[in-house]
Subunit: 404 residues, 2 copies
């Protein structure tokens, strides 16, 4: 089985390594030897053993009938999308780790794959090496999934873990993460939640069978989380995590990415550092969780190569088909229910009384000096926002959703 | 797609429920409607809507060409084995949740399935609803697996969790578990580790591709774990879990079921009550963990029905094939390395000195009144046993393996 690799960056290098290192067992599982025939890259890699495989023109790959699987590890929507579309149309399976591509064009590319009796596979686009796409498609088939909640971004989870353990501020830990290579120079995609947003859009689309537009998902990052918030969390027996979630309630679906306070007894609470975990709830299975390294050269390559094996094994058969192009209208974000932990500046003794008048019965939390802190009742986001407006003479120091 | 169900006990009832409840989504995923044509049971179930499906003679099922998948939910090796062999030989896929059957005859039945181009599937035999068999076969295909360690028995995990949380003794919690239906009247298979042993035998066989005989796996249960052991564990920042493990080291493989002290930071440490979790390590993916309900009517039925869907989708194609009949010689258990936490009766002041002379540098643990407690260095089981023999003038109160 001849394959072509598009892009020899970190993930691409990992794919080459894995295919060489585990050649024998991969051949056994794929039912045939898997060999890289071409590597598309703008660089030459002179002196590198793989340099003989390098080509600069995608046409060579797409027009070579011997190439049955194209593996994309370039990132970015273009030219990945054009290459995917062309490969699938020519009857080649397409494997990618590219979440932007999948979140934006997944439904369409799955359809193209189906029409051409090949496969568009993207296990590595969510959760790095953690098997989640395949289990959703092939294992949880007896269930109606009604919730997926996950820690889907390793960078932010590392930062939150360090803030908790060292009592450091966000900016300080971010610098450390950048020095360690866990955060990029421009960390926006991670720390603002955009990366997690694309991933939960992919999972929601698979779970509910129709397209969830990632731009429709309310997304908050972790830049506003402070070490004082961490202190409160700890004193309450909670921990703060950046959670991406999609949930079906009655007949509507909502999705969200935001920092959340979760109790230490929650299985996601122990997911630390760069690890990811995805919690799935179904009407038969109850809850299951998948945990592992959400990024990195080898874990990601593990998922990519597993997709290659699956594509090789299923030549001529389409294996993923539950995400059609119809768009899901997500529930209005103001109508979603939430419970909040709120910190206000205590500039008057009457604050407890005022909060009670406006919010009804709240759960008071032992505050830091000069603050008043409480947990609201569960109600719609819009009602919460309106009540908060009514106490706007007290400055809001922070407000974080809490899972009780 | 017509299927037959053997046995209408708890799991069988679950299968009927799930197939009725999620009929539509199952049909979508299987590519066709799945319908139960027969239920084999010795009872009549008069008045029950399913009573019209009940047959008493397996011959009716195996000779009906319309039946393409046989689902076994009876338990026990016979007649399950005879029925499995007959079904597969007649070109019917066979789905089971029966760990005894799979641990004993898995390799042979997989071979029979392969020869007949049908499938022998057993996702529910390990970890209840948790997808683990299919991920091992279809997701972790780029990896060489070198370790699987899991909490594979919900009953013992419930007991250990309660002992920890309430400070109660084993016998007391066992009674409670029996009252709740979490433990059987005769709890031996669970509390002595036999159930976990069969499950790790299945996982080892799949991970390493050859047959691991469950009778070769050294197995210790939890009946000797005391509330004092729990107290020590907590004071050291550890927790005691019944772990089943198989590991490849150099070219040898060992497997074991035993109580273990694991640090609270270990991902398995937070797996409480009846939950199961399976930790897998591969040379590419690093570590992944699968977590969920390891037993129960619906979670088990979820896995069984997912297998039915897979068998329906893969009509004519064999999908599991990495467990051949050649037997793995497990490493001699005396040659496996371990680290122990040991409690001795302190009947002489010289005990610390004596332990040091015999065990070398040990890590002392703050003891309970009248005891001396320490953690050994890591060495082979046989050396540990020999040293313990040399201090036999001090009574051993307990010894538990510890993962540092």
């Amino acid at each position: 089985m001849k394959i072509a690799l598009l892009g020899l960056g970190t993930v691409g290098r990992g794919v080459v390594e894995v295919i060489n290192e585990n050649k024998e067992s991969i051949a056994k599982r794929a039912g045939q030897e898997v060999e890289i025939k071409y590597i598309l890259d703008i660089r030459d890699f002179e002196g590198d053993p793989i340099s003989t495989l390098v080509v600069k023109d995608f046409e060579i790959i797409v027009s070579d009938e011997e190439v049955e699987i194209v593996v994309e590890a370039m990132g970015g929507v273009e030219p990945a999308y054009t290459f995917a579309k062309a490969s699938l149309s020519k009857g080649k399976s397409f494997v990618t780790s590219n979440k932007e591509l999948v979140a934006l064009h997944g439904a369409e590319l799955l359809e193209t794959a189906r029409k051409n009796k090949v496969n568009f596979l993207f296990e590595a686009s969510v959760g790095g090496g953690i098997p989640i796409i395949r289990p959703l498609n092939q294992s949880l088939t007896a269930d109606e999934i009604y919730e997926i909640t996950g820690i889907l971004n390793g960078t932010t989870n590392f930062i939150l873990t360090q803030m908790k353990e060292k009592g450091s501020a966000f900016e300080e830990v971010l610098k450390e993460a950048q020095a360690l290579g866990y955060a990029e120079k421009n960390p926006e995609a991670d720390v603002e939640g955009h990366d997690a947003c694309r991933k939960i859009a992919i999972l929601s689309s698979l779970a509910f069978g129709e397209h969830v537009n990632y731009q429709d998902i309310p997304t908050e990052g972790i830049t506003k989380v402070t070490k004082e918030d961490m202190f409160y969390a700890e004193s309450m027996g909670y921990v703060i995590k950046l959670l991406a979630t999609c949930q079906k309630q009655d007949d509507s679906i909502f999705a969200r990415v935001s920092p959340m306070l979760i109790p230490l007894t929650h299985p996601l609470a122990m997911v630390n550092d760069v690890f990811n975990a995805i919690f799935v709830k179904g009407n038969v299975i109850g809850e299951v969780m998948f945990y592992g390294r959400g990024a990195g050269k080898l874990p990601t390559a593990s998922a990519v190569v597993a997709d290659v094996v699956d594509a090789a094994k299923h030549k001529g058969t389409n294996i993923i088909s539950f995400w059609n192009r119809e768009k899901i209208e997500l529930k209005d974000k103001g109508q979603v229910k939430a419970t909040y932990f709120v910190r206000l500046e205590k500039n008057a003794e009457s604050i407890a009384q005022r909060v009670k008048e406006v919010f009804g019965e709240v759960e008071e939390v032992k505050p830091l000096e000069g603050e008043y802190a409480f947990i609201t009742q569960t109600e719609t986001e819009i009602h919460f926002a309106q009540r908060l407006e009514r106490v706007s003479d007290f400055k809001v120091i922070s407000k974080i959703r809490i899972e009780k």
